[in-house]
Symmetry: C2
Subunit: 343 residues, 2 copies
DNA sequence: TGTAGTTTCGTGTGCGCACACGCAAATATA
DNA sequence: TATATTTGCGTGTGCGCACACGAAACTACA
């Protein structure tokens, strides 16, 4: 394995000079710099990350801005676990983490935590850009500090994020359509359940619905989609009443499509005689959803491997900060199908 | 972060002594050794892997014994890629790889490569124990040398492998049953295609078939399984003739279940008027299978993330060799469902 | 020509650990 | 008691790199 001082010898300079060239630290005449670069390239020299991180006392801090999870909404739990797993692995390399948690449906909490993130002045940031306008408002500040940032889970256009990790919403909806389709021998009369908060915030959900219905169009299978709106998922009584009332009104209802991660909330609220006739397709392997899946209240879940998203986001950022590897601009997570049988 | 010399100071000894204790190198009185151990435990001191691997010139060699892949059978390609990816990552830590490749259906080639592996005297081994008897014959030799080994893909009982990475065959067959079930509105008349070589060698396949049929039993769905044997998958003409002949004889045939990774071979050989009426469920996302999936000749594939199996096997072994982490004895890969829509 | 300022570079030290070397104290042997 | 042997331990060096310090070499200007 070739070392810096090997390069130095070959270039007739000292190790210090090679070091300056490698780190663009300046103070090297263009002539010798070029000579060194040539030899580095010739031998495909790569800095030994082990030795480098040992010598490098300076630690890099990566800030993470994601929503909180609660007992009833554990969607972001896996992401957190993935992030923490990555931390454990990269601690040796002097990577530190600063996690900022906001309330998923509260824009002001998002802004407040975003502000804290900026003030912590990290070396890199991982952000779940849940609110478009608020994101647009704060991003310039971290760009001004030349802090690289990665978007996770939600893909916003028009930003200079070095990468995005998440799912292709349309495609995952399309797959949901297929799963619903194969499960139904009868005509498809499907209720789509949405909540107010989701409708407002999350364009990913509408893309999923779009993908879902276009699958049926493509397959020439008759489809009747009925939108059912739930105002407040936290109000259990209300959910129960509205849902049972609305769904029982629908003639020949054959399936339930829940484009958010809240499928379990709805199937749990549903009267069992109603539910038993339905195929249910939902998203994300939260604990609650997995339980409903195990107990046959949900037929299929489509999951996006949040754990890996969290893990890989950190990994990409570390590679970028330490080895200057530019990540792919979009990293789409595999669209995973979960059934009772394979969890 | 606490260092060896910190420990040394606290224990009133020198760094060298602490080093001896940590590595059980001997030459330390039991009294001081105990004192050091206590302080190490108190502070939960862990050797800094970065500094350690920098100082440690000695490299560890991991031997890998897996089948070859060919153009028509790329099953083991992903495993190889995963292994190589891991190598790249651990090269910095002085990990070396020695890959031994045998012919998948040739026990003597397995034995020959196994012998070479033993002679190379590696620090650890990753083995796909394709042949039970031959494995039993050679394993004692690597156990005699105290070389830890991991089984991959095929789970044999009665060995002292420190871990197994692979799929739960029964469960994956069971899931295949479900996928076939939901795809069928009619009674299930399923042809199961096997090849002679597979029948002889691979108990995993029969477990898959077992899981498959038990799904239908559990669901009380009438099932008629018809076994179709193909002598030689490599003889394209023969495959074509036998298959079309046998399948056209079956009344009301509704599906094809291929418990091996060769689904693509069979669907490609099948007359399109026969195939168009069938749901096909197979295993493993080989290139050929994925192509057939894309072109709607296969309905579902069940995959076992071979890439990760290869990658993780190396990772586990590295952790074991360097950080002495004992791995879980069984690491079951997620049972992944592949469709045209999510590959 | 002399002095100050600038550019360009070499040297030295330390990151935390592994391991060889060798010294001192304890023990055995004569 | 003198000498050999063993046991227990401290010290020093190097792994490959980052970075501070300061020394030449060169430039500018009076």
């Amino acid at each position: 394995m070739i070392t810096i001082s090997d390069i130095a010898t070959k270039a007739n300079v000292s190790a210090g000079t090679v070091d300056r060239v490698l780190h663009n630290r300046g103070g090297v005449s263009e002539k010798t710099a070029e000579r060194v670069r040539k030899i580095v390239k010739e031998h495909d020299f790569k800095i030994n990350a082990v030795a480098s991180s040992l010598a490098n006392k300076k630690s890099r801090t990566i800030a993470v801005l994601i929503p909180d999870y609660s007992e009833t909404n554990t969607f972001w739990k896996d992401t957190r676990l993935g992030v923490e797993k990555a931390l454990e692995e990269f601690l040796k390399f002097g990577v530190k983490l600063e996690v900022f948690i906001f309330q998923q449906f509260d824009a002001s909490s998002y802004e407040a935590e975003f502000q804290k993130l900026i003030e912590s002045n990290p070396d890199g940031a991982i952000i779940a850009p849940t609110f478009r306008n608020e994101t647009a408002k704060h991003i310039p500040k971290i760009e001004a500090n030349k802090i690289p940032y990665i978007f996770i889970n939600i893909d916003l256009d028009g930003f200079k994020n070095i990468s995005f990790l998440g799912q292709q919403s349309y495609k995952s909806g399309y797959l949901a359509g297929k799963l619903m389709h194969v499960s139904l021998s009868k005509p498809a009369v499907i209720a789509v359940i949405q909540t107010k908060l989701n409708v407002e915030n999350n364009q990913a959900l509408s893309r999923r619905i779009q993908g879902f219905s276009e699958y049926f169009i493509k397959k020439d299978h008759p489809l009747e989609l009925i939108m059912v709106n739930i105002d407040d998922v936290l109000d259990a009584e209300m959910v129960k009443n509205t849902l049972n009332l609305e769904l029982s009104k629908i003639n020949g209802l054959s399936g339930l499509f829940v484009p958010s991660s809240r499928a379990s909330v709805f199937v749990n609220a549903l009267n069992s005689d109603l539910l038993s006739k339905l195929e249910v397709v939902g998203f994300d392997g939260t604990e609650q959803n997995l339980n409903s899946l195990k107990e046959d209240r949900i037929s299929f879940l489509i999951s996006q491997q949040s754990f890996n998203q969290g893990y890989n986001a950190i990994k990409l950022m570390v590679d970028f900060l330490i080895e200057k590897k530019l990540p792919t601009s979009k990293m789409y997570s595999p669209i995973e199908i979960l059934t009772k049988e394979n969890i």
